[in-house]
């Protein structure tokens, strides 16, 4: 008996030692990182690293095609178009980025004589002069061996050891030249590059359309002859001249625009106009590289403050400071009225402060939010799931940080975006469309009934402001206060805009010929609403819409469809009402008012236009054409106000809301200032590394006791289990014996 128990004890002890050894192995492995739960392999760094996230993998990193904010987050740190937005100044203003100064603009008439901007201008000439000392990031495409490029004809042997573009043994650089900007513009014209803005630029840049047709056809022919494809075949764009864009020498280039188009300067802040060296384009057109997904679309090459050191769109993107980045300094002026003076603490210092940026893919909000709270992300947005944890609404209706956030010294910034989400009426529809007074009143009544304030409160946690017209706050033409309200939907009472009562809406509906929401035949007026939202999560929102119309006695029929069908219906004007939105491309009212310009109506453009409501008021159109080329000032504001009066009365949209973006960031992240139009803002930010390291340690101390309890429980359970097994074994043996005895 003693012998059996001694054996049992030895076995138990051996298992316990094994378990403890395994646990120690786990602990040692985990504790290789300074904090057990640190998602980074090495977070004790001697240089500033900014940790942030992205929610969907970038598809395109070639600036000729990329038109997505997720992609521009990366691209704008790497590429440098000629101009940029001033980081601090509001309203948004332009400043040179790679230029010595803003481009010099001259205007010419048909005869070629220089005239003033308000004369009969046939074309405008923009003259650009480059800064000195702007060089590209180190890249293998620039490496030369004698007169030839070393890596432009890679052999199989050379390709064997190449997994990414950073695996090449040698790199080189070269200075930015004017021809690189011209090359980028020419790339847009090549249809095979699928530039999303070529058709928008076509009417403006002189000779762009003819040039496009010429090079597109020539490239097609070349592909046919080579039996190749557009990804692999290099087309010598430099051999073709473009009338409207020309390099004058290495430092200067000019762009010629048809007529006057002041908004063109804003386009020059976008990555489409970032310089592309022809050598790089040629380098990437190699079969061996394409097979490894090493292309200009995955491995950008720029003159910006950072270069892409790691491109794993499904896990992590990593930017590292460009050693060749030119001299650039933190702004010394332009602080907005409501901005903190601390934003000028780094005035005049050399940029960038942050030497490395690590973006991690976070598809789900739970890990993203918790990593931010643990200090592993320096900044975060606020999702609906985490809103209540982060923000509390004060009795005065203001947003404030919760106690939990204040304890961690988390900071908070809110900004109304230059974006609009609207409820549109199809003006070509016989019921909700039309321009008669009765039809106007029907839309005005619906606009009053659609309680945007309630929508923002229920579905956006208060993150938005009701729109008073098509122009969002922050843009020229937007007016605050009483003079800025939409008088057909709001009244100015007690110093603020108040939505008109539902009784007033019913009165309008009666005047529109639908008393109590009934038609002449006495039947309820039925309106169809086309929606993209079809899942169970959307039901509450769709029910809310039904409820708003029901207040007027109108029966709203929802037709949910997928995005393809929805777009198709809007393009073909087969909708009655719908919801859509628009993000500003640039801070000019033209970029929003053109959504209502008759020339852009879907029914007039074979579905290609952006005016999905098909609004086409001749007076509005006339004023739009006048306004779009005017410089900002009193005269322009007067015209804009006239236009706003017209559209508010016609009410082709119920103006919806302008969303408010909330940003949370830790106290160690400095120089944070929201800029909805600029994407190249990381270079201005700075991190207090000591504070971050200390707080991460404070907030992430492992809690050991549950681990000890689990191990003890495992140890303790071994004894009764072993005992129970012995008992079971004996029971089986004795029952077998009894069975055997019975059989005998």
């Amino acid at each position: 008996m003693i012998h059996r128990f001694s054996g049992l004890f030895k076995q138990t002890a051996k298992r316990a030692i094994g378990l403890v050894a395994f646990s120690l192995f786990l602990i040692v492995n985990i504790s290789q990182a300074s904090n057990w739960n640190s998602p980074y392999s090495d977070d004790k760094l001697d240089h500033q690293v900014y940790y942030t996230s992205f929610s969907s993998p970038p598809k395109h990193l070639d600036p000729v095609i990329s038109y997505n904010s997720n992609e521009w987050t990366f691209l704008s740190q790497i590429y440098e178009p000629p101009l940029q937005y001033h980081y601090l100044k509001r309203p948004y203003s332009l400043e040179p980025l790679t230029l010595k100064s803003l481009p010099r603009i001259r205007y010419f008439d048909k005869a070629g004589s220089e005239v003033s901007a308000d004369a009969d201008v046939a074309y405008s000439e923009y003259l650009f002069e480059l800064k000195d000392g702007v060089r590209y990031q180190p890249h293998p495409a620039f490496v030369k061996q004698g007169e030839l490029f070393k890596y432009h004809k890679l052999s199989k042997d050379q390709l064997k050891s190449i997994k990414t573009v950073n695996d090449f043994k040698m790199t080189a650089t070269r200075a930015l030249v004017a021809e690189d900007y011209i090359y980028a513009i020419k790339r847009m014209a090549l249809r095979q590059n699928h530039s999303p803005i070529f058709d928008s630029m076509k009417p403006y840049i002189v000779g762009f359309d003819e040039f496009s047709k010429q090079v597109t056809q020539a490239f097609k022919d070349q592909i046919k002859v080579e039996s190749s494809n557009s990804k692999l075949s290099y087309f010598p764009l430099r051999d073709y001249a473009l009338e409207g864009a020309e390099a004058l020498d290495d430092r200067r280039f000019k762009i010629i625009i048809n007529g006057v188009y002041p908004q063109f300067l804003y386009w020059l802040t976008m990555n489409f106009f970032a310089p592309i060296p022809w050598e790089v384009d040629k380098f990437y057109k190699q079969q061996g590289l394409i097979e490894k997904n090493i292309t200009l679309d995955t491995s950008p090459v720029g003159t910006g403050p950072y270069y892409l050191a790691e491109n794993n769109p499904n896990q992590r993107m990593r930017l590292v400071v460009n050693p060749n980045h030119h001299q650039e300094f933190y702004p010394t002026d332009g602080l907005a009225e409501n901005a903190s003076p601390e934003l000028l603490n780094d005035a005049g210092k050399k940029l960038p402060f942050i030497k490395e940026v690590v973006y991690s893919l976070e598809k789900e909000s739970v890990p993203l939010w918790n990593k931010f709270l643990q200090g592993y992300y320096d900044a975060s947005g606020v999702s609906s799931d985490s809103f209540d944890q982060a923000i509390s609404i004060s009795t005065g209706g203001n947003m404030e940080l919760t106690e939990q956030m204040l304890e961690k010294d988390i900071q908070f910034l809110a900004q109304v975006q230059p974006t609009i989400f609207y409820f549109g009426f199809n003006m070509a529809d016989p019921v909700v469309g039309g321009y008669s007074e009765k039809q106007q009143k029907l839309r005005q009544a619906i606009s009053i009934a659609l309680n945007t304030e309630e929508y923002i409160s229920i579905f956006l946690n208060g993150r938005g402001e009701p729109a008073q017209g098509p122009i969002p706050p922050g843009l020229f033409g937007y007016q605050e206060g009483e003079q800025g309200i939409n008088p057909y939907v709001y009244e100015w009472k007690k110093g603020r805009a108040q939505r008109k009562s539902i009784e007033q809406a019913k009165q309008l509906l009666t005047e529109a010929g639908y008393p109590n929401g009934r038609t002449k035949q006495g039947e309820p007026l039925t309106i169809h609403y086309d929606s993209l939202d079809s899942g169970p999560d959307s039901q509450s929102m769709l029910n809310w819409y039904r409820k708003q119309f029901a207040k007027l006695g109108i029966n709203l029929v929802i037709r949910s469809s997928d995005y393809n069908r929805f777009q198709d219906k809007v393009r073909k004007a087969k909708v009655q009402t719908f919801s859509w939105g628009w993000n500003a491309d640039y801070p000019d009212p033209e970029n929003f008012l053109f959504l209502l310009y008759g020339g852009n109506a879907a029914i007039h453009t074979d579905g290609g236009g952006v005016n999905g409501a098909n609004y086409d008021n001749p007076e509005f159109n006339r004023l739009f054409e006048k306004m779009k080329t005017m410089p900002n000032g009193e005269k322009r504001l007067k015209v804009i106000n006239q236009m706003l009066d017209i559209v508010r009365k016609d009410a082709p949209w119920s103006w919806g809301f302008n969303p408010k973006a909330l940003a949370l960031y830790h106290s160690w992240l400095k120089n944070v200032w929201p800029n909805a139009l600029a994407n190249n803002t990381i270079k201005y930010k700075r991190i207090d590394m000591e504070v971050r390291d200390q707080q991460r340690i404070n907030w992430n101390q492992p809690v050991i006791w549950p681990l000890v309890i689990v191990l003890l429980l495992l140890l303790i359970s071994i004894w009764p289990l072993t005992k129970a097994y012995r008992a079971r074994q004996n029971t089986i043996i004795s029952s077998n014996k009894t069975e055997a005895g019975g059989q005998q």
């Binding site: 993998p57 992430n700 097994y725």
Partner: protein, 325 residues
């Protein structure tokens, strides 16, 4: 056996053609090439010229199944279906509609998927079998009943709950492991502990109940009584005899999934930030990327067929009475 395998592989060809045909038909029933172009171009204003150029570049300007403008064989061969299918059968997956090499993407993303799926599969299998055998050992006892009740409870709770609860408990509250992330090599171990443990735990309910029923069928057979009569311990009886004989039905369900392990898990990879293949197909469907959809459906079918053949082959290994002819 060789002839059997060759025959099975030949039978696979019409199946794969059929699968491919259905994929083409279903995809283009929902998405037109024009829709795909708009989705891929991502422009605010998409003009007919842009759409046409994109379709020409990607080959979507060809008719789907029949080309009436071509003559002779061209009526069939100069179609999107034939041109793309021929490439698939030579395992040339080509480019996604966004321009990336699909083979390179699959190769890059299969390893993280395997890093999580393989340990989850092996540890899960061993754990489930061990627990099932333990329950069989204590069959009819309170431990058996309690364990079965717990197994049903585990099965009844959504896998998503385990993921979020695990992240909150082990990372947010106790700070033991990273809440999500991935690293290659040994450093990756600490990122994989939690998803693997959750994967194993979430599978315990169903796995244990299934294996328990298999082993219970075996435990009362004559060879078990003989083994006990020879004086073998219950552990040796269970692990040495019952397990071996119970393996055949287990193999049916297990071997077939082995080749598909690298296809990944959508939810697990999404929540834990594992850069695997789990969301590759779903993301492609969402972004209307037919290049990826057709390649992944084809690959999935091939792997399933391989799994079935492997299952048949494994029968012959574990049960000498089975002959493949």
């Amino acid at each position: 056996m060789f002839a059997y395998i060759v025959r099975r592989l030949l039978f696979a060809i019409p199946i794969l053609i059929g699968v491919n045909l259905i994929t083409f038909a279903l995809f283009f029933m929902v998405n037109t090439p024009d829709d795909m172009a708009r989705a891929q171009l991502g422009a605010k204003q998409t003009t007919p010229e842009m759409i046409q150029a994109w379709k020409e570049d990607r080959g979507y300007d060809k008719p789907l199944f029949i080309n009436l403008q071509a003559s002779g064989h061209g009526t069939i061969t100069q179609t999107l279906f034939v041109q793309e299918s021929v490439k698939l059968f030579s395992f040339d997956f080509g480019q996604s509609d966004s321009g990336r090499q699909i083979s390179a993407d699959i190769y890059e993303r299969m390893w993280p998927s395997l890093a999580i799926a393989l340990p989850t599969f092996i540890i899960g299998l061993v754990t489930n079998i061990a627990i099932a055998l333990l329950i069989v050992l204590f069959r009819g006892s309170t431990l058996d009943k309690v364990t079965m009740a717990v197994a049903v409870a585990i099965m009844s709770v959504s896998g998503l709950f385990y993921i979020i609860a695990g992240q909150v408990l082990f990372s947010k509250m106790w700070h033991w492991v990273p809440i999500s992330g991935y690293a290659e090599g040994l450093d990756g171990f600490r990122f994989l502990i939690l998803p693997v443990l959750i994967g194993v735990f979430a599978g315990i309910g169903a796995g244990t109940r299934w294996y328990r029923s298999i082993f219970l069928e075996e435990i009362n057979k004559d060879y078990v009584r003989t083994a006990r009569a020879k004086g073998l311990s219950e552990i040796k009886v269970l692990f040495g005899h019952v397990l071996q004989n119970g393996l055949l039905p287990i193999l049916t369900g297990v071997v077939v999934v082995i080749p598909t392990l690298f296809m990944g898990s959508l939810i697990m990879e999404s929540f834990f930030g594992i850069p695997g293949l789990g969301s590759y197909t779903i993301d492609a469907i969402r972004s209307q990327d037919f290049g990826i959809v057709k390649a992944m459906v084809f690959l999935g079918s091939v792997l399933y067929i391989i799994g079935l053949i492997l299952t048949d082959i494994s029968y012959t290994y574990f049960d000498p009475r089975v002959k493949l002819s």
